[in-house]
Symmetry: C2
Subunit: 120 residues, 2 copies
DNA sequence: CCAATGGTTCAACGTTTGTTGTACCTTTGA
DNA sequence: TCAAAGGTACAACAAACGTTGAACCATTGG
C-alpha cells in the first residue's frame, strides 16, 4: 500500500481546516479519536455505520487538512489525531471544537475528559 | 424591506457554524466586523471587492448561523458580530477562529486587539 | 498458490455551494 | 412624483461535495 499523503498542518489554510471540521461525520470521527486515542479504521467506520469507501473519503480530507495521521501495520490501518501539531498551527481551535461537540450516542469507552493535551 | 431571518445561535448545530466559518470571504467579513465593529454593508462589499448579490448571499449564511446581526436605518444596512451570543453557544470558538485568521491586506482602521469580549 | 481481509481508487449520481447578472423592492432626495 | 441608491430574490451555471458500488491493490493465513 502506497504511503498516503499527509498535509503539514503548517501549510493548511484556516478555511481548509474549518471546512474539514464542518461535516457531521468528520466531527464524529475527530470526537472519537479525541476520546479513544489511536483507533483502527475498521473500528471507526463500523462504529459510525458508514461504508469503507465513504470512510476512506473522509479520512483523506482529514489527512489533507493536517488533522489526523494514519499508519498501517500489515493490512490494518489506524488513525490518530495530530493534536499537538494542529494546535501549534491553530492555537485553541481544536479544543474549542472538541468542547463544543454535542456528545454522540453511547460511547464505547468511558468518557474521561476532553481536551487536546491528552492526545499527543 | 422585510425583516430578514436571524437564527438564534442556540439553535445552530456546530457543523453549520463551522461551515459558515469555512469560506475565505466569510472569514474576511467576520474579521472585518471583529476589527471595526458595526459596519455598513456597502463598506464591506466594496472593501472586499465583491458584488452586492454575492455579499447578500454570504450575509445570509452568516445570519442563518447566528454569527451576525443586521439592522437597517433607512435604505442603509449595517452588520455586527453577535459575539456574546455566539460565544455563549460555542464557548471559545469565535476567539479561536479570530486569533487564527491570517491578517488581510491593509486595515482601514488601526488594529487594536483581537478577541470577542470587545464586540458586544 | 488461493482466498479472505482491510483500504484505496474510480465512475457515477444527486445535492449543495459560490458566483454572476437581472429584475425587483424600499427608502431617500430633488 | 420620479429617479437614484442600498439590498434582496431569482434563475442560471460551473465547481465542489457526500455517498454509493464496483473494481482494484496489498497483506495475511491456510
Amino acid at each position: 500500500m502506497r504511503d498516503a499523503f499527509h498535509a503539514d498542518p503548517a501549510d493548511v489554510p484556516l478555511a481548509a481546516a474549518m471546512h474539514a471540521l464542518s461535516d457531521p461525520l468528520r466531527l464524529r470521527i475527530v470526537e472519537l479519536l479525541a476520546r479513544d486515542g489511536e483507533t483502527e479504521c475498521s473500528v471507526i467506520y463500523s462504529a459510525l455505520g458508514i461504508s469503507k469507501s465513504n470512510a476512506s473519503h473522509h479520512f483523506r480530507i482529514l489527512r489533507e487538512s493536517g488533522l489526523i495521521w494514519r499508519n498501517h501495520q500489515g493490512r490494518q490501518q489506524s488513525a490518530r489525531l495530530r493534536g499537538d501539531e494542529f494546535n501549534t498551527r491553530f492555537p485553541g481551535l481544536l479544543d474549542a471544537v472538541l468542547s463544543n461537540i454535542e456528545p454522540g450516542p453511547a460511547a464505547h469507552r468511558p468518557v474521561q475528559q476532553q481536551g487536546v493535551d491528552r492526545i499527543g
